[in-house]
Symmetry: C2
Subunit: 327 residues, 2 copies
Amino acid sequence: MTTTPVSLIDELIAGDQRALALAISAIEDRKPGYRELVGRLHHETTDAHVIGVTGSPGSGKSTLVNRLAEFYRSRDETVGIIAIDPSSPFTGGAVLGDRIRMSAAVGDDGIFVRSMSARGSLGGLSTATADAVKAMDAAGKDRIIIETVGAGQNEIDVVKTADSVLVLVPPQSGDAVQMLKAGILEIADIFVVNKADLDGADRTVKELLDLIEHDPIDQEANGWSTSIVETVATDGTGVDDLGSTIDTHSAYLETSNQGIERDRKRYAEEVNTIVREELAILLEREIDRQGGIDELAEAIRIRETDPYTVAESLVDPLRVSLGDDVD
Amino acid sequence: MTTTPVSLIDELIAGDQRALALAISAIEDRKPGYRELVGRLHHETTDAHVIGVTGSPGSGKSTLVNRLAEFYRSRDETVGIIAIDPSSPFTGGAVLGDRIRMSAAVGDDGIFVRSMSARGSLGGLSTATADAVKAMDAAGKDRIIIETVGAGQNEIDVVKTADSVLVLVPPQSGDAVQMLKAGILEIADIFVVNKADLDGADRTVKELLDLIEHDPIDQEANGWSTSIVETVATDGTGVDDLGSTIDTHSAYLETSNQGIERDRKRYAEEVNTIVREELAILLEREIDRQGGIDELAEAIRIRETDPYTVAESLVDPLRVSLGDDVD
């Protein structure tokens, strides 16, 4: 079964779920032509609202994401969900059975769920996710939710590029301080104290308010002060509230310059990541040409040469073409 | 006051502490000519024994490092100490007052203490540390101890390149599991249960034994099974034991192939890091040539182009010189 990119793109834009799944598989597998595919998709995107959801394991992220998807569906908005799971092995593009965790999603064409696992190093995951967002956007999804499975640095890096970033904090977790250290708090547009029916929710809200108040950045002056919403995802309490708060944030992004600013930052980051991946490949080839890294390292070890001289010999061929001086 | 690199190197090799301090400052500041300096120093190195010390804050790292330094001094071995502190602001090379935390070190020419803070992104800290190790090695230090101040990923990456890696675990900290998650345990050659006079030390030792036993890598088959040593750094208890265990590990590295393997891996990593830093600079210039990243991102945002097309336009000039096909 061969689907040429052109008809695939047309079908995808028309909202065909199978075409969307195939496109994301091509992106994840980096099949030949995936760059052209993503390049074309980019021109079909309309800056769908991207919501990032993170928080420590056990904070109830997937349940909340399910509720949020139901909330948007009840408003007749379409939803794409990307679950970032760097720990799961890369399954390959042949697997069409994308994880459907949401019973609500089965049989509903308005929801598309996809999990993404880590590929190579150097930002492979963030590039693949950014590309998958483009595919979902081009396919007409109104809201795209990126959900992390864990809370590792890679996953946080992916989520923080979203338009609206939700950070879940379970009550009495003592997580607040840990998250602050890990730099998770500063990426939050909205704190969600989920499992708010548990003891200690009030105290956690108070801790978060304290953190916001003592933020060295004057949030009010920025036009958006991190909000706190309490939810009980298991029974849906507070989800409407959360939806409204996300709407408010989304409106803020549109009326202020911040939405455009975020888009620019995200695109700059995307370019940087793609370039770094490309350069890593070019470098790998140059190293092979010069005998392989083991041989180069051995030459350094026996003091035939030194790391800087070897590095220069690898970079010089690149330097010449840019018109730089060669030492 | 001008010191030409040549006389600086001669003085450094002769063991002059001031020359060593100046050389490390030049390395940290990346003063013009620092690469040639490090290249020359590399040829003067003799593979001094490098000991990495890490562990969570409060585990007693600096006190233990002081004791270890005293232990080596009592055997008439010279010691260089590098304290990795990414959180402290970069102080600049003009500051000659290197942190002397050790009262014992004052007035003893056999000990040289230096703190290194984070510089640019992309491995600046690990390159600077590797270069500082070379300077200390060339200056004739027998043992070079790299000590992290915190336990962040960057610091761990730096320490894990050492010949012998010590991971400190305080009793009853519950740290063992956290460290396992963070990938700290797997870099350990020797676990040090410091503050072993506290309650719970036995349990912590047992937990560590369990971890070692359940290590998926067959440690015995590798020729070195992670050791556990109990110490009380504040009064010196167990430090002789630790010294002997480090000696045993050092001997293992020399008699097995592992020492050479580690050197090779470290040099390969050094080359990779330097090259990545270089490429980042080249890329920055190419981006500037093409109008700056903000302008490129804006062109993507208004759908004039897309991230992959922009990335290609940045990488293509490099690709040509390597004889690659240009699409």
